[in-house]
Amino acid sequence: MKILLKLIIFSICILALPKFTLAQCNEYTKKECIPQLNPYTFNGQLNNAVLSQGETAELQLTFYKDQEYRILVKGEEQLGKIQFQLFDTEYNLLYDNADEDHTNLWDFMVESTDDFIIRVLVPENMTKEEIESGCVSILIGFRAFGSRTIFK
């Protein structure tokens, strides 16, 4: 009976793991990432996932003219330097943070409202035998053009 009880508890723990991992990822995003959007206003959509080295994620979204934007891409330390790129819808590369020492923030504006694609790449680590996984967040902040700050 004791074995059965232990087994049930163990199984519940295993079942709860994905939820726990996502909750941890959300906590990481809220504590470590959203504050870095300041003084921009967070657009309210949490784009985060547990990614492994060598994996890629994409975010499709619209940027409006007359607004300033901040892209923040941040991953947990064990993943190494996260690369992100901005493309137009024809996949013409507009920005690559690898050209700026893998900065995790980029501020910009657009001349015309249009759709764009942000691609996030977690590089493989060739020196280790095993692949690491960790939380990666892709967040967008915005503010009206010309405003010093609308988010105190």
Partner: protein
């Protein structure tokens, strides 16, 4: 018999968990064997594992309306008196989005009494969706202290919706989170297409409505991820009709996109022109009004 039962339970739980992990598209395996044949390249990236679709929030779109110097039209908003009519989780989620868009609209006019009423309904709904009470209390206290401040109200709206999005996704209720986004987008478009003078349309509003051509595709992409949800299945055909109308808007890209720097700011140079006829704007207005009526008039 007991041994067999234990094995069966064990197998079922592990199998279900494995399925859950894959369906969430949220790999948690932290240590996996690496393929040796990748050693030839210093860095190699795999196929896209996770796709996110972002839809502009009502805060973002109403912020654009703020500059247009338009009169406050409270009659357009969904009345708080309708709140008791929404009983299912899906209808509550959609109307959180709708009332959230109304609240974002109220904010740009500094109508703080209306803001308090709309925020109270949103709070009631988030409780009904099971969003933890602790976060509610903190926000309610801050509302009392900061309601008469446009920036604080912005923070409160932003935090409320971020918390809801986060909680729902953590609890495998991404479909419900998507319905909130859907409700917010529909209501923002409803406000814009009902504020506009359809006989003498204001240029800036036509432009703002036409720009939603981009968002409707992302919204469909977002909802498509939850098409097993009954409500999502019900609304997708309506949204596709709206998308078809938006496709009538002509889009011309004059030059390939590029980057430039001006006054210390990085600017993406992209000349995109959207041309929408009055008939198309009227069509969008009619389709969206029908969708919005289905969502609010229960």
């Amino acid at each position: 018999m007991l041994k067999f039962t234990i094995r069966a339970i064990c197998f079922l739980l592990i199998f279900t968990n494995t399925l859950l992990c894959f369906s969430c598209n949220n790999s948690t395996s932290s240590k996996e064997s690496k393929l040796e044949n990748n050693l030839a390249q210093p860095q190699k990236f795999g196929p896209v594992k996770k796709l996110f679709y972002n839809v502009p929030s009502p805060i973002q779109v109403t912020e654009l309306m703020k500059k247009m110097d338009l009169p406050y039209q409270p009659d357009l908003m969904n009345s708080v008196n309708n709140a008791d009519n929404y009983l299912s989780q899906a209808d509550i989620a959609i109307n959180i989005g709708i009332y959230g868009a109304d609240l974002s609209y109220i904010r740009i006019y500094n109508q703080f009494q209306d803001a308090a009423r709309y925020l109270a309904v949103i709070k009631k709904f988030t409780r009904e969706l099971g969003i933890p009470e602790e976060q509610e209390k903190i926000t309610a206290k801050r509302v009392e202290e900061n309601i008469a401040n446009q920036d604080s109200l912005l923070n409160i709206i932003s935090e409320t919706f971020t918390q809801s999005d986060s909680y729902l996704k953590e609890n495998q209720r991404g479909g419900t989170a998507a319905l909130i986004v859907f409700g917010g987008w529909i209501e923002t478009l409803y406000l814009a297409t009902n504020i506009i003078d359809l006989d003498k349309p204001q240029k800036e509003l036509v432009s703002l409505i036409a720009q939603q051509k981009h968002s409707v595709k992302n919204l469909i992409g977002l909802l498509n991820q939850y098409r097993n949800d009954e409500k999502v299945n019900e609304i997708l055909p309506d949204l596709k009709k709206l998308d078809a109308k938006f496709r009538e808007i002509e889009q011309v890209k004059k030059t390939p996109s590029s980057l430039k720097s001006k006054n210390g700011k990085t600017i993406i140079q992209n000349k995109v022109t959207l041309t929408a006829s009055n008939e198309t704007i009227k069509g969008i207005h009619e389709i969206n009004n029908r969708i919005r009526a289905k969502l609010t008039e229960l």
